[in-house]
C-alpha cells in the first residue's frame, strides 16, 4: 500500500517521468488494439521505429515536425499567459494563405527578400486573427474559446475561397493554388538532397523552429513582458493590483501567440506544401499544436521534443499500412498519450485529497527566536 502510494507520488511529482509513462501507456493501448485485430505488435512497431530511424526517414520526421513544433509553441505561449489559444488552427490556415499569396504574386523578388516577407505576412495575419478575438473578449467579454472556434471556420472557408480566386488559382486541374515561387521555397537544392540522401522536401525550416523556440523561451523567462504576461496568466487580480494593464496583456499574448500560429502555417507551406489545396475539412495542424503543447508541458524545449515525437508518429504511422496495420493506429496512440497526460490533473487532485497536513510544515526553528523571554 505505502509503496504504491509512493510510486503515485513519484509519478505525479516528476513531470518528465509522468509524460514518459503516458507515452509508454499510449503504445501499450495501441498494442492491445493491434492484438485485437490479430496483427503482429512487433511487426507494426518495428515498422514504425524503422521508418523514422534511417537518415532519410529522420529527415522526413524533421520536415514533418516543423509546423507541429511552431504551432505547439504558439499554444504553449498562450497557456503560459493564461489564455487558451484554441484558434491556432485558424491562424495557421490564414498564415499559410497569406504567405502563399505573397509567394505567388511576387515571384520575382530575390529569395532573401521574399522569404522574410512571406514570414512577416503570415505572422501579421496570424496576429490579426488573434487580436480580433482578444478585442472581442476585452470589448464585449465574448468568451475567447467560442470566438476562436468560429474564427477557425471563418479561416477555413476564407482560405478555400481565396484559393479559388483566378489570380492565384492553379491553371491545371488541381483544386489548389498555384505553386509559390521557387524564391519563396525553403526546400534544399535537388542536388544537395540527392547527394545527402534526404527526403525530397528536406528544408531548413527546422532552424526557424529552433530560433522560435529560443525566442519564446527568452520572452517568457527573461523579459519584463514575459513577467507581465505570466502574472496576468496566473492571477489577473494581483497583476491588476500591482499596476499591470490586464487588457493590454491579453491583447499582447494573443497577438504573439497568433503570430506564431501564422508562422507555423507559412513554414508548412514554404517547406512541404508549396501550394494550398481547397480542403473539405480542417487539416488540424493547429489542433495538433494543442496536443504538442500539452505533451511538452508548455515548456519551449519540451514542446520542441514533443513536436519531433509527434512528427515521427505521423510520418511513421503513414508507413504502417505496409504491414497491414491501419494508419489510424497513430491516432489511438496519440489520443491515449494525451489522455494520460491530462489525467495528471486527476493524479494531483487525488494526491491533494490524500495529502493530509492541511497546514504547511513549519521550519524546525521555533518561531520568533529573537527576543527570548520565556514566561
Amino acid at each position: 500500500m505505502s509503496k504504491k502510494k509512493g510510486l503515485l507520488d513519484f509519478i505525479s511529482e516528476n513531470t518528465f517521468i509522468h509524460i514518459l509513462l503516458s507515452i509508454v501507456l499510449g503504445f501499450l493501448v495501441g498494442a492491445i488494439f493491434l492484438a485485437i485485430m490479430g496483427l503482429s505488435v512487433g511487426a507494426a512497431y518495428g515498422r514504425l521505429i524503422n521508418s523514422v530511424t534511417s537518415l532519410k526517414g529522420f529527415s522526413y520526421v524533421v520536415v514533418y515536425s516543423v509546423p507541429y513544433i511552431v504551432a505547439g509553441l504558439s499554444v504553449a505561449f498562450s497557456f503560459k499567459t493564461g489564455v487558451f489559444n484554441i484558434g491556432a488552427e485558424g491562424q495557421f490556415v490564414m498564415g499559410a494563405m497569406g504567405a502563399a499569396v505573397v509567394g505567388i504574386l511576387l515571384p520575382d523578388l530575390p529569395k532573401p527578400v521574399l522569404i522574410p516577407l512571406c514570414f512577416l505576412t503570415a505572422m501579421a495575419i496570424g496576429a490579426l486573427w488573434g487580436v480580433i478575438v482578444a478585442a472581442l473578449k476585452i470589448k464585449w467579454g465574448i468568451n475567447e474559446v467560442l470566438s476562436m472556434i468560429m474564427f477557425n471556420w471563418i479561416a477555413f472557408y476564407l482560405s478555400n475561397f481565396i484559393a479559388g480566386i483566378p489570380a492565384i488559382h492553379n491553371t491545371g486541374s488541381a483544386e489548389a493554388t498555384q505553386n509559390i515561387s521557387a524564391n519563396a521555397s525553403m526546400v534544399f537544392s535537388k542536388d544537395f538532397i540527392k547527394q545527402a540522401g534526404l527526403a525530397p522536401t528536406a528544408n531548413w525550416g527546422i532552424l526557424v523552429a529552433i530560433a522560435v523556440m529560443l525566442i519564446v523561451w527568452f520572452i517568457i523567462e527573461k523579459t519584463t513582458l514575459g513577467y507581465e504576461l505570466k502574472a496576468v496568466g496566473s492571477n489577473r487580480f494581483a497583476a491588476e493590483y500591482g499596476g499591470i494593464n490586464v487588457n493590454r496583456s491579453i491583447l499582447t499574448a494573443l497577438s504573439i501567440s497568433g503570430a506564431l500560429g501564422g508562422l507555423a502555417g507559412s513554414l508548412q507551406l514554404m517547406g512541404m506544401g508549396q501550394r494550398i489545396s481547397i480542403f473539405s475539412s480542417q487539416e488540424g495542424f493547429g489542433f495538433a499544436g494543442i496536443v504538442v503543447a500539452l505533451m511538452g508541458c508548455s515548456n519551449p524545449f519540451g514542446v520542441f521534443i514533443a513536436g519531433l515525437f509527434y512528427g515521427a508518429l505521423i510520418f511513421g504511422g503513414s508507413k504502417l499500412n505496409l504491414v497491414g496495420a491501419p494508419t489510424q493506429l497513430v491516432n489511438v496512440i496519440v489520443g491515449t498519450v494525451v489522455f494520460f497526460i491530462a489525467i495528471s490533473v486527476i493524479f494531483r487532485y487525488v494526491k491533494y485529497l490524500k495529502k493530509t497536513p492541511k497546514e504547511p510544515p513549519k521550519p524546525a526553528k521555533p518561531s520568533g527566536g529573537k527576543e527570548v523571554a520565556e514566561s
Binding site: S234, N235, A239, G242, G243, P357, K358, E359, P360, P363
Partner: protein, 512 residues
C-alpha cells in the same frame, strides 16, 4: 467563570501521547488531551502548530502514528468519520459542507433521513430539527435555503447537523473566523447552552479573547508539541499568548507622540456604487495627514470596500475627488496611483496581494519589475532580483529562510502577509492603505504586522487603516473615522475612543 457545569469526574475524550508523522515531518509530537463532560476545551496554537491535525485524528480523518484515543474510558480505533460519529463526536469544519440549493432541514437530515416506508418523511425531519434547535436556543428557519442565509446561520446548520447525528462532543474548527462580532456573541451563548445540557465542546482557535470569554480549559500546542493544559480562569491573555508563541508578546504597540504633518490623502464628496450598481458611497469626506494613522471603523457593507477599491484604482467612482499630495488619483489606474504615492496591503492577500504561482522574489517586485535595477532594456536582471529578495527575507523575517525561489503559495498565511508588507513598505510611498492587515493571522504575526504599520507612521508616512477588528483600530489609530451608510459620520482622536461609543456610532446611533 464557575465550572459547575463541568463534570470533572467524567472524562469523555482522552487522547494519550498522540504522535503523527508525515514522512520526516512530525505534526504532533506526544500530545495529551482530556475533555470532560460539559466542558469547553480550547486548543490554542499558531497557524501550523498541529491543531487541525490533532482534531482530524479524533474525527477519524487521520490515523495517529502512535498513541491512544479513548472515548468515555474505552479505547477506540477511528478509521473514518463514521466511527467518530458513532462514538458521538461531531465536527464543524472551518469551511462549511452544505448543499447550497437545499433547505436547512434537508441539509441537516442529509444521509440520515427519516423515512416512511420508502418515502422521505420530511415532516418528521422538520419536527426533529425544530425540536433540537429550540432545545439549545439555536433559532433558525428550517425551510430557508442555505444560499439565502448568512454565514452565522450556516454555522448553526452545521452544529445542528452534528447534534442531529447524536453528537455529545462537538469539535469547532476556527468557528469565529468568518463571523461578525454580534454572531460571535451568539455563538458563545449557544456553546454555553450546549454544555449546560452535558455536551462537551472542543474549540480550535488562535483568538485569545474568545478563549477567555468562553472556555473552561485550554491546551496549548506549539510546533507540534504539547506545552500545557491550563485552567483559563488562572491565566490572562498575555500568558496564553506567550505560551502559544514561546516568547513574550506585547499587545501594546509602542507609538510615540508625534505631530501630524501636511494632508497627504484628501477625499472630497466621494460617491460610488457597489457591484450591483447601488449607490454605496454617498459623499464621503476623509483626510489622512503625514505621520498619522487614520482608522476606518465600521460594519462590513457600509462602503469601506468600495472606498478602498476606488483609492487603489480597482473601481471607478461616480462623483467626487481624491488627491494624494495634491495630485488627483480619482478614477485612475492602479499603476497611476502607485506612481503618485499610493501603496497598499490589500484585504485579500491571495487574490490581490500575491501571484501564488510566482516565486517570492518575483512577488517582491510586482510593481517594480520594469524598473532599474530589476530590469534593464526590458530584460529582467535576475541577480538583482534575487539579492533584493534575500535582503527582504532576512529583514522582514520571512520564513522559511532562503525561500527566494519558492512559490508564494507554499508559505503560511502570516509569511505571505510578510512578503506583501516587505514589498509595500520598501516601495516607500507617502500613503499606505492597509485593509484588514491581520485577518487570519496569529498573535505573533499580528504583533509583527502592527509594528511595521506603526513604523511607517513614525517615519512620517500617512496610513489609512481599514479593519473590522475594533481592537486593532483602537490600538493603532491616531484618528478614528467611523463609516456608516457611505459617509464618515464621526471623527474622534484614537486616545478618546472606547468600544461602546464606537459600536453605537458604527450602528448609526450616535454622531460626534
Amino acid at each position: 467563570m464557575s465550572k459547575e457545569h463541568v463534570d470533572m469526574k467524567t472524562p469523555v475524550i482522552e487522547m494519550r501521547n498522540i504522535v503523527k508523522r508525515f514522512g520526516d515531518f512530525v505534526a504532533n509530537d506526544g500530545i495529551n488531551l482530556t475533555v470532560h463532560k460539559g466542558e469547553i476545551h480550547a486548543i490554542l496554537g499558531e497557524n501550523g502548530a498541529g491543531k487541525s491535525t490533532l482534531m482530524n485524528q479524533l474525527y477519524g480523518l487521520l490515523k495517529p502514528t502512535s498513541g491512544d484515543i479513548l472515548v468515555r474510558g474505552k479505547k477506540i480505533e477511528m478509521n473514518s468519520p463514521r466511527d467518530a460519529i458513532d462514538a458521538g463526536i461531531g465536527m464543524v469544519h472551518q469551511h462549511f459542507m452544505l448543499v447550497q440549493p437545499f433547505t436547512v432541514t434537508e441539509n441537516i437530515v442529509l444521509g440520515t433521513e427519516p423515512r416512511k416506508g420508502i418515502v422521505l418523511d420530511m415532516k418528521a425531519a422538520r419536527r426533529s430539527v425544530v425540536e433540537i434547535s429550540e432545545r439549545y436556543g439555536l433559532s433558525i428557519d428550517p425551510d430557508a435555503k442555505i444560499e439565502d442565509i448568512s454565514v452565522g446561520m450556516q454555522q448553526r446548520v452545521e452544529i445542528l447537523k452534528a447534534l442531529f447525528r447524536g453528537a455529545d462532543v462537538l469539535i469547532l474548527d476556527e468557528p469565529t473566523s468568518s463571523l461578525t462580532p454580534q454572531e460571535i456573541v451568539e455563538l458563545i451563548q449557544i456553546m454555553r447552552n450546549l454544555t449546560a445540557d452535558g455536551k462537551s465542546i472542543i474549540l480550535i482557535t488562535h483568538k485569545l479573547k474568545e478563549i477567555k470569554e468562553s472556555a473552561d480549559f485550554c491546551t496549548i500546542i506549539r510546533l507540534g508539541r504539547y506545552i500545557d493544559t491550563v485552567d483559563v480562569d488562572t491565566v490572562d491573555e498575555n500568558d496564553l499568548a506567550s505560551m502559544m508563541v514561546g516568547r513574550k508578546v506585547t499587545f501594546q504597540v509602542d507609538k510615540p507622540e508625534q505631530a501630524s504633518g501636511k494632508v497627504v490623502l484628501d477625499v472630497k464628496n466621494l460617491h460610488g456604487v457597489d457591484y450591483r450598481g447601488v449607490e454605496i458611497l454617498k459623499g464621503l469626506n476623509l483626510q489622512v495627514r503625514a505621520g498619522e494613522i487614520v482608522g476606518i471603523a465600521g460594519i462590513d457593507g457600509n462602503g469601506q470596500t468600495e472606498l478602498v477599491e476606488i483609492l487603489t484604482g480597482l473601481r471607478k467612482g461616480t462623483k467626487g475627488e481624491a488627491t494624494v499630495n495634491g495630485v488627483s488619483i480619482f478614477n485612475k489606474s492602479p499603476h497611476f496611483g502607485f506612481e503618485h504615492g499610493v501603496s497598499s496591503i490589500p484585504a485579500d492577500r491571495q487574490k490581490h496581494g500575491l501571484v501564488l504561482d510566482f516565486s517570492i522574489e518575483d512577488n517582491l517586485i510586482l510593481q517594480n519589475y520594469g524598473a532599474d535595477p530589476y530590469a534593464r532594456n526590458s530584460i529582467l536582471q535576475r541577480p538583482a532580483i534575487f539579492s533584493h529578495a534575500s535582503r527582504s527575507i532576512e529583514q522582514y523575517d520571512i520564513r522559511p529562510a532562503s525561500s527566494e525561489k519558492r512559490p508564494a503559495g507554499t508559505l503560511s498565511g502570516g509569511n505571505q502577509q510578510k512578503v506583501i508588507i516587505a514589498r509595500e513598505v520598501q516601495n516607500d510611498k507617502d500613503l499606505l492603505i492597509a485593509v484588514n492587515p491581520t485577518r487570519g493571522l496569529d498573535v505573533g504575526a499580528i504583533e509583527y504586522v502592527h509594528k511595521y504599520i506603526v513604523e511607517q507612521r513614525n517615519r512620517g508616512k500617512a496610513v489609512l487603516l481599514v479593519s473590522f477588528e475594533l481592537d486593532e483600530i483602537m490600538s493603532l489609530s491616531d484618528v478614528i473615522d467611523v463609516i456608516f451608510d457611505g459617509q464618515i459620520v464621526s471623527s474622534i482622536p484614537g486616545k478618546e475612543a472606547n468600544e461602546n461609543d464606537l459600536g453605537l456610532m458604527m450602528a448609526g446611533g450616535k454622531r460626534s
